[in-house]
């Protein structure tokens, strides 16, 4: 469970995030939806404690992220905007590296890695060096590596970016599986279809602010439109 209150972050004169508040519940997929440059990535970076907010608070499973960043990182699985893998290591070695950094025992790490490799359908890839992987294969490896410690909360920054239809579809299946397992899934995207297909709740961000927050149905109702896309456009344009 993730709770965010009044997040503010500026880079010099640029006010990237100006008072973002929302919540993401366990057993749900929450979508951070907004146009490019709306402040989604910056918000996520503050959530996974890479950046420190100028103001506001973040709690993950009730733990204050600003006071105890290491504890919070242990309960988070993160697919950041930057997905760089280690090219000279195999997929499994990439996963094992993060498992060891998370403090997993070798036996446990192997069991988790095997389970994720099976769940993501990457048995054929595991022993190969990452160099030469396709975009979809790289995202799979990056997700397996991010979730190797079985985190209760999963943050994904534009997870389907650059994926083909097949890869997108299997990734969505995988995320639904996480939801079914009671995980709190929070993803950012600028794609309408993504939230429509996946999300239980939508947080729309524009110009560093939350302009709407609710279920897809509630948002359609709030904007007075039948289509989610229209609702999205109307809500963003209505924002100050």
């Amino acid at each position: 469970m993730i709770e965010v209150q009044g997040l503010v972050k500026s880079f010099g004169a640029v006010r990237a995030v100006q008072g973002v508040s929302f919540g993401a519940r366990d057993g749900e997929i929450t979508g951070l939806l907004g146009p490019n440059g709306a402040g989604k990535t910056t918000t996520l970076r503050m959530l996974y404690t890479l950046m420190r907010p100028d103001a506001g608070s973040i709690h993950v499973d009730g733990v204050d992220a600003l006071a105890e960043p290491l504890a919070v990182r242990r309960s988070l699985g993160v697919l950041p905007d930057a997905r760089g893998l280690y090219k000279r290591l195999t997929a499994r070695e990439n996963i094992d590296y993060f498992a060891a950094l998370q403090g997993l025992e070798p036996a446990e790490a192997k069991q988790r890695a095997d389970a994720l490799i099976a769940a993501l359908g990457m048995q054929d890839l595991a022993g190969r060096r990452v160099e030469g992987f396709s975009q979809g294969e790289r995202v799979k490896t990056a997700i397996a590596r991010a979730l190797v410690h079985d985190p209760r909360n999963v943050l994904l920054d534009e997870p389907t970016n650059g994926l083909d239809v097949m890869a997108t579809r299997s990734l969505r299946e995988f995320l639904r599986g996480l939801r079914a397992a009671g995980r709190c899934v929070l993803l950012s995207t600028h794609l309408m279809q993504e939230v429509a297909a996946l999300c239980d709740r939508i947080v729309i961000i524009a110009h560093g602010r939350v302009v709407a927050d609710g279920t897809p149905d509630a948002l359609r109702e709030q904007a007075g439109t039948a289509l989610l896309e229209d609702a999205f456009m109307r809500l963003i344009e209505a924002a100050p």
Partner: protein
């Protein structure tokens, strides 16, 4: 397993699979110095040997007319080649360097005490023949002087009358001096080995990690950033030390191929040298590695990092140049300056001179303080938000 160890093992494993790292650490870094040394020393020495000891093959025409002269020249190193028909043409066509022609009247003139003529046939525009011509002329001069003196003595005169001026040659560019200058560079060669050995890993694991966008995912793990830094530093130092060890062994082996006796020098390049230089250099290995990591962490790309490190690697040459140009007497305070301290120590070990233990320990201590200071700087930079975000 502690996080620093996890990072260390991963960096080592990844680097062992990188051909560029292996090339630099195991081949280029360790072998560059010794190879350069052997080649340069051989060049210096071979020039000297050529001048002094090598037999000098000369075509002699009319040798039968001056058996005494030819016998004396042979004693001085001349190798008589059989006469040929047209020596002028042979020199012009570069078939021979020079020829000596004994005049037809040589025997008669010699016996009569008149100046007897020999001709030197050569082409002064051919530089490579110059030293041979000089040597033969020197031999002829020596023979002439000796016989002139004998003739004066036979007439009851002192040979000193005919030698009003004596020139003593005092060429400062002796092989010893040239060799000593070269050996003042040996510590720098070792430092360069250390530098090159760690450079690829330092740039690849910091600037490279950033450039390939793998730093942000790494920093999301619940590991304090200074542990990550420590792991990378130790991996870098391991490769650097490997490079140094291989370089020292290579120098030790190359010592057998260095014509040091001919230069009148004795160098202690044996196992004892290797065993004592290694601990002396270890604090410097750490200092180089952490400095490289700090510089690379500021760079936006591997290429930029390498540009900066290319400048940084010139810093250790300063004490080498200072010491070889201004031969100062080593005082204790000099041992407290990182780089200078190790330089002085290695020079003394090289000449098998006693090394003041207090100086070595002082050098190690100050160098380690510098390591900690640079580590803290790097840690501060690693803690900043800007580091992770590559865009």
């Amino acid at each position: 397993m502690t996080p620093a160890l996890v990072v260390y093992l991963k960096e080592c494993r990844e680097s062992l699979r990188d051909r560029r790292v292996l090339l630099n650490t195991l081949l280029l870094g360790p072998l560059l110095g010794p190879l350069l040394f052997v080649l340069l020393l051989r060049l210096i020495v071979s020039q000297e040997i050529e001048r002094a000891e090598q037999p000098l093959p000369v075509v002699v025409i009319g040798a039968e007319r001056a058996p005494g002269l030819v016998a004396a020249l042979k004693q001085m190193g001349l190798v008589q080649k059989p006469a040929i028909d047209d020596p002028e043409l042979a020199v012009r066509e570069q078939r021979i360097d020079l020829a000596l022609k004994v005049g037809a009247d040589f025997g008669a003139d010699w016996r009569a005490g008149r100046p007897a003529q020999v001709e030197l046939i050569y082409d002064s525009s051919r530089r490579e023949a110059g030293s041979s011509v000089d040597r033969l002329r020197g031999m002829l001069d020596a023979y002439g002087r000796r016989n002139g003196s004998l003739r004066l003595l036979a007439r009851g005169l002192s040979p000193a009358i005919a030698a009003p001026l004596v020139v003593a040659n005092h060429d400062l560019a002796t092989p010893q001096a040239k060799g000593a200058l070269l050996f003042a560079m040996l510590p720098y060669m070792l430092m360069l080995t250390v530098f090159i050995g760690g450079m690829w890993l330092a740039t690849d694991s910091t600037a490279g990690e950033r450039e390939r966008q793998s730093l942000e995912p790494l920093l999301v793990n619940p590991v304090p950033r200074d542990r990550i830094l420590l792991g990378k530093l130790l991996a870098c130092a391991t490769f650097s030390t490997t490079s140094l060890l291989l370089g020292l062994v290579a120098f030790s082996v190359a010592g057998h191929f260095m014509p040091t006796e001919q230069l009148g020098m004795s160098l202690a390049l044996g196992p004892a040298f290797v065993a004592s230089v290694l601990p002396v250099m270890l604090p410097l290995v750490l200092l180089f590695c952490i400095a490289q990591i700090l510089v690379s962490a500021f760079a936006k790309s591997v290429r930029e990092a390498q540009t900066w490190l290319g400048l940084l690697q010139l810093v250790p040459v300063i004490p080498s140049i200072v010491l070889s140009v201004v031969p100062v007497k080593a005082e204790l305070w000099m041992f407290s300056v990182p780089l200078l301290s190790q330089q002085l120590t290695i020079m003394r070990l090289l000449r098998a001179e006693p090394v003041p233990l207090s100086g070595v320990l002082l050098g190690a201590l100050v160098t380690m303080i510098a390591v900690v200071a640079v580590f803290l700087l790097a840690r501060r930079h690693y803690a900043s938000e800007r580091l992770a975000v590559s865009t």
